[in-house]
């Protein structure tokens, strides 16, 4: 068994595509209409084009808002991405206007930071020790 795809709910898929591709730097993998305005929209890391896909899923279900609001209030990220250098990534993203709810901090062996993806979620970035 492999983790082939995971998903985050996004308020607006067009906005999410801009953020995850233009700001974070992921690459679009699939973009298929699935009825109405909704698309099957996935991105992958350019470092791993065959790796796990992230589905940017419409957040239309009524359970999504209260669930995400409660997590965001407490600063809890919905996904974690690995980066080579959290502090460098923090500088790069902050310069692009990304809002961090947790600036980089050493958490024992890892350095982590948490930012708002502008689509309703908090995302953690982490650098694992060598």
């Amino acid at each position: 068994m492999k983790i082939h795809l995971t998903s985050v709910f996004v308020d607006d898929q067009a906005k999410a595509e801009r953020f995850y591709v233009d700001v974070l730097g992921f690459v679009k993998k699939h973009d298929v209409p699935v009825g109405g305005e909704d698309r099957w929209l996935t991105v992958v890391s350019p470092e791993e084009p065959g790796g796990t896909e992230l589905l940017l899923e419409p957040a239309g279900h009524p359970a999504v808002k209260p669930y995400r609001d409660a997590l965001v209030t407490d600063g809890i990220p919905i996904a974690q991405f690995a980066v080579a250098d959290v502090r460098a990534e923090y500088e790069r993203l902050a310069a692009l206007g990304v809002h961090f709810t947790q600036e980089p901090v050493e958490m024992g062996p890892v350095v982590t930071a948490v930012f708002d993806d502008t689509c309703g979620n908090l995302i953690q970035i982490a650098t694992q020790p060598e």
Partner: protein
Amino acid sequence: MLGGVADELFKALADPTRRTILDELADRSGQTLFEICGRLSMRHQLGISRQAVSQHLAVLEAAGLVETRREGRYKYHDLNTAPLRQITERWPEPEPEESTP
């Protein structure tokens, strides 16, 4: 009234986990619950639940040592050391004796 405030203060300070939370907020004020939990578990190896951390924060807030603020969708915790002055005001350090030449 002063007695009640002092009771809350001393109760809040009496617990080592709560003192560690204050240490971490002194390192950087304005933390989410998630960051506080991460610091306690990853920097101090304190394996306590998020609910337990919330309860500790409520005790610290009742003592005025932690203040919470909403900023948009996020909630942050700030350190407020002002209540600690009650301790030195109640038991002030004796004035140094004036030296008479």
